[in-house]
Subunit: 317 residues, 2 copies
């Protein structure tokens, strides 16, 4: 099948491109390289079935040109800001990179009669729900970050576009996703800080923030398994077993980097920053009913991700 | 209190301006006159407490200038496309006039430290739910129109902005609202068509679409009563007793216009157009618990609105 992965040179996008090529699909990878990097997909450049094109998904003319040239059958929409912390000071980032990308992609699909889309949503649409067990029928979605708000707005657009234009949409609400090619987030930050200063680690919040971390390989397995969705919107919480405390992430990172006696310095407070949800829990009955299950637990995913990143650095360095 | 009504020359906005002035508030009325009309507020022009300014709520610079000049304490955000039928062919209308207006207004509030907002949302956020009784805790909001999607996206923005900036937001999910200064919708259309051709009336759909219609006076009474909301988001379904079938609306319009034996011609189908929700029902326990109740039933509201419009036309010549 001819697919287009928008945001395909980013963390999750690049891993998805690799898997789509491995499964024999054609892939047109679109990225504006704001967060994505060409090196993330450099291993695919020689593949006949793969093309990498620099374009911005908010650019209507560019999308028109690409859709009319390639006629993709399936759009994987991973073009979004993914750094919640950054946009906490600047909601315009989410307006442009998360919401407007969705609108423009759906409009181009409408125009070129493309019917299938995968959309990367987020646990942030629920807002701060603490110890509630969140399932797909949870009501009163009240995002506390501009990121979560823009993703929820994007889900609403997908609902209307799929109804109005007979599309099939698969929406996953991702938890924290980790693995090779990470561009930001707690693991990325810890590793970077420890490289600069291996005896001291500043930790945002009180370190007790506890969330499920899924490995990208598990997540992409779920996408590949469920991508052939029926008409309308199919929405799933995607997650894994357990959850990992921020302090435990620091411990795992130190262990894997071979560092001992690192002094942790906490900035304090329940959340890492305003708009960060300190903990959440998913009910995964719906996605488990499809037969899919994550192989890595949250702790295992964190450790595997640290190893992936260390391996990457070795091979680049 | 110094208030700013954005979209204040439109149907609901102009009626709200009148009531705010009557209650002794200062009103800066902003409109881009795309749907609003200066004549809707011409009766207020001589009021010392009233100012009418042409500006577009998507224009960041214009909002900055207005907010810094007037320092409003309370923003009534009624700037939106309100013609769902028109935007069914062109989602960009909703992106610009419904979603982007919300983002820009909230951003300006953040910048100028304005804490209070009223937002006009809609039953269209629920999607097509038929005979379900919809309350504020109903889950799986699945708008089927671009209008409903953009309003739901706006609600999500308000959720995040109010959390991040300690705002108080009052959100009403309006049903169909009718009364003087109507600019579109079924009553407006019927009256216009019957003026052009008083023996024959084309009715979209099969005429069985049945929805609650609230009179603007009731709606504005609810806004005035609940506008002083606590921190965070307060959300209410606002509606009235009963619901009115489209064919009954035609009957009421004909009666009030003194027309007999008008031949109804139905275009057929359950919905008036794709994206139209043919019927819905609200649970109003939450708003009734505040003590507010609509005075007009749905049928009464429809009749009163037809009379309002006939009276307006008389007085305009």
């Amino acid at each position: 099948m001819k697919t287009m992965v928008i945001g395909g040179a980013g963390f999750i996008g690049s891993n998805l491109c690799t898997e789509l090529i491995r499964e024999g699909h054609g892939v047109v990878c679109i990225d504006n390289f704001s967060l994505g990097k060409a090196e993330n997909v450099s291993h695919l450049i020689c593949e006949e079935q793969f093309e990498l094109i620099e374009a911005d998904a908010t650019d209507e003319g560019a999308l028109d040109g690409l859709f009319s040239k390639y006629h993709p059958e399936y759009i994987f929409h991973l073009a979004a800001n993914s750094d919640i912390r950054e946009s906490a000071d600047n909601p315009e980032i989410e307006y442009r990179n998360t919401y407007t990308t969705t609108l423009r992609i759906l409009s181009a699909m409408k125009k070129f009669d493309i019917k299938k889309i995968f959309f990367a949503s987020t646990s942030a649409v629920y807002g701060d729900r603490r110890d509630e067990v969140l399932d797909e029928n949870t009501s009163n979605l009240s995002p506390i970050s501009y990121y979560g708000a823009s993703k929820l707005g994007s889900e609403a657009l997908i609902s209307a576009f799929s109804y109005m234009n007979d599309m099939s949409a698969l929406i996953f609400r991702f938890p924290n996703v980790v693995g090779g090619h990470l561009t930001h987030g707690v693991i990325f930050d810890f590793m970077k800080r420890l490289e600069e200063d291996p005896v001291r680690l500043i930790i945002l919040g009180d370190g007790n923030q506890t969330k499920p971390y899924i490995h990208e390989a598990d997540l992409i397995g779920a996408i590949m398994m469920l991508m052939d969705a029926p008409k309308g919107v199919s929405l799933y919480n995607v997650g894994t077993h357990g959850a990992t405390k921020v302090t435990s992430i620091a411990d795992i990172v130190c262990e894997e980097m071979g560092l001992k006696d690192v002094k942790y310095e906490y900035t304090g407070g329940e959340s890492g920053w305003k708009g960060d949800v300190p903990r959440f829990r998913y009910c995964m009955d719906k996605i488990h009913a499809t037969g899919w299950r994550a192989r890595f637990s949250s702790d295992e995913a964190v450790r595997a991700a640290v190893r992936d990143i260390l391996k990457e650095r070795e091979s680049h360095g």
